[in-house]
């Protein structure tokens, strides 16, 4: 039997007789048929529904018929399901009619682009406040942690240094080696135009030791370990582990954030040193490959170029870069609320913010060193 709704009219009274399958598989056709029926009922004061001809009905079909009756009722028509014919279908329709909830009017969202930009801008002071508040609490945690060392999870420090430092060594080393090669090639091609290839070793030392070594290492660590830390802490937050720590009288910032930040501040400089050495090797390889400078002469020039100032300029900033990665990653993790989706969102934000912060802090140091003439 094909799906249809027959309408028998007698004056201002009508009987609607749905026939065929009113089920999920035919829901689209059923919805169209029901809509067509509504148009044919104009001018009727009373509408009866006879379900005897229904071939099959399930929840989806019942919803469509129930809503038709609701709409007819709302227009002031008297509706009635004919008793006795197909009681299961009648019960199903009645169930969906009586369980209809009054819904609040949908909120009208202002979706204009300007309004969205405004809303985002309005959030900025709050976010800055959150970040400052978190930094302040972390700063306050340091003297407290010193006063009561038991409130910090020191046992996790070796494991964290292993995960953040040793495990990241291959990827940071590879990145630094490649950057060293790039500076080498760049130096040869640009300085070579002025016959100044002999300055390539100094360029590699200055560029990498002072700026690129700490920066490249910190960006790789932010992407790798920052994401790991943020997702770990965010997962702990959404699964109430952070609340459990608080309930046991342990302050999460001291217990979790301090050892993580410390591990990063200790390991990022170590990774940077290894990276610096590999960048020198990369620069040597690139220069030796395309110029006539001997390895011995290159090494001699490199040794002469390495000064305490260059070394310190990079060495001073790398613990701060590690620290900011830890603060951003842990801070974002602790802000997670909700479920799995929040963990993903916070991790993404943590990585983006950590990389950006690393670049900003690195530039501030460079600016400061330039000011004081180092």
């Amino acid at each position: 039997m094909s799906l249809a709704v027959r309408v028998d009219r007698e004056g201002d009274r009508a009987i609607i007789i749905p026939t065929g399958p009113f089920d999920l598989a035919h829901a689209t056709a059923a919805a169209q048929t029901v809509e067509g029926t509504e148009a044919r009922l104009s001018g009727c004061a009373s509408v009866d529904v006879d379900l005897a001809q229904l071939d099959r009905i399930d929840g989806a079909g019942a919803v469509l018929l129930a809503r038709l009756l609701d709409r007819l009722d709302a227009c002031g028509r008297h509706t009635c399901v004919v008793e006795g014919h197909n009681p299961e279908a009648a019960r199903l329709i009645a169930l969906y009619r009586e369980r209809r909830a009054d819904r609040p009017a949908p909120q009208t969202h202002s979706t204009s682009r300007l309004a969205r930009i405004g809303a985002l801008a309005a959030q900025l002071p709050g976010k800055a406040n959150e970040a400052l508040d978190f930094s302040g609490r972390c700063a306050a945690a340091v003297p407290k942690a010193t006063a009561s060392p038991n409130s910090v999870d020191w046992h996790s420090l070796p494991r964290l240094m292993q995960e953040i430092g040793a495990d990241a060594l291959p990827v940071t080393s590879a990145a630094n080696l490649l950057v060293g090669i790039i500076i080498g090639f760049l130096g040869v091609s640009q300085l070579g135009r002025f016959g100044a290839v002999a300055y390539v070793p100094e360029l590699v030392v200055v560029a990498h030791f002072r700026e690129l070594g700490p920066l490249v290492t910190a960006i790789v660590v932010a992407g790798r370990s920052g994401a790991g830390l943020a997702s770990e802490i965010a997962t702990m937050k959404v699964s109430e582990e952070i609340d459990a720590l608080r309930s046991m009288g342990l302050e999460p910032i001291r217990w979790l954030v301090v050892p993580r930040c410390l591990a990063l501040a200790l390991t990022v400089p170590l990774l940077t040193w290894v990276g610096d050495v590999l960048a020198l090797v990369g620069g040597l390889g690139a220069t030796a490959l395309i110029t006539h400078i001997t390895t011995r002469a290159y090494i001699q020039a490199t040794v002469n170029a390495i000064t305490g100032e260059h070394f310190l300029a990079g060495f001073v900033k790398s613990p701060f870069l590690g620290l900011v990665i830890g603060l951003v990653a842990c801070g974002q993790g602790l802000l997670a609320r909700g479920g799995a989706a929040a963990v993903g969102t916070r991790t993404t934000t943590a990585v983006v913010l950590a990389i950006f912060s690393v670049i900003v802090i690195s530039s501030l140091f460079t600016f400061f060193f330039a000011l004081i003439g180092i």
Partner: protein, 254 residues
């Protein structure tokens, strides 16, 4: 053609993990349109049995046959039954309405206003009409379970599986959920299989039950739970239904 009375037939089924056997040579059937409960203490394998019934695991020995489905682990295509997992298992990045629409969009060509109407009707059915645009993280545990039921109902199945529906709920929410289960069974004619150990819920809703025991590695009793409570002479079943500990009954007996 009338549908067969038996909706699920389990024949000589054995299940376990690795070398650990949980249930051996179990045979039972679930009648169409009834509320069937699988009972037992913690660790007796009732949730594992559910995983086999819904086809997540392949039985090593024995056979499960669901009418119209065949062996559940071999079934491909639109799922012919709905499952409510213990925590509701809603996707946390989607609103309730999006969670409910997912099976509809995946398996049917229904879209737009009709899909929204069907989703809203199911949310209304479980009493969550005003929460369509909420995320799962914003609603309570009981509401998540009700939303899980609404999602399980989206494809109009004639068979539902519930894993511990009232676990972790307050008594009022638990009773409301039981009433919903009764409505689904009586008004929609759905066969419902429930894994639980909540006694109040069992006596209120169950038509038939099987009791699994860890030591016996199988069914130790089956039938109407109210009759089992009154007349079972098996100590484990008696203790289970009367909430008494083996030590207490031994003291009484001796």
């Amino acid at each position: 053609m009338p549908l067969p009375r038996s909706h699920i037939t389990v024949d000589n089924l054995s299940i376990g993990w690795g070398s650990r056997v949980l249930i051996e040579h179990v045979t039972f059937h679930v009648e169409r349109g009834t509320i069937f409960t699988i009972l037992g203490g913690s660790g007796c394998g009732k949730s594992s049995l559910l995983r086999y019934l819904i086809g997540l695991e392949q039985p090593g020995a024995g056979r499960i046959d669901i009418d119209g489905v065949g062996e559940p682990h071999r079934y491909e295509g639109m799922p012919p039954f709905g499952v409510l997992f213990q925590s509701g298992a809603l996707f946390s990045s989607m609103t309730l309405a999006e969670n409910l629409a997912l099976p509809l969009i995946t398996w049917t060509p229904i879209r737009g206003a009709i899909a929204r109407e069907l989703v809203q009707a199911k949310l209304d059915l479980v009493g969550l009409g005003p929460f369509a645009e909420h995320l799962p993280g914003e609603i309570s545990g009981g509401m998540k379970k009700r939303a899980g039921i609404a999602r399980a109902l989206m494809l109009e199945p004639d068979l539902l599986f519930f894993d511990e529906p009232s676990a972790g709920l307050d008594p009022i929410s638990a009773v409301e959920l039981d009433q919903l289960v009764l409505t689904l069974s009586r008004d929609l004619g759905i066969t419902i299989v429930i894994v639980t150990h909540e006694l109040a819920s069992i006596f209120l809703v169950a038509d038939h039950c099987i009791v699994l025991d860890k030591a016996a590695k199988g069914i130790v009793a089956q039938g109407d739970p109210r009759k089992l409570r009154e007349s079972s002479e098996i100590p484990f079943v008696h203790n289970f239904f009367t909430r008494s500990s083996p030590a207490a009954s031994a003291n009484q007996g001796g």
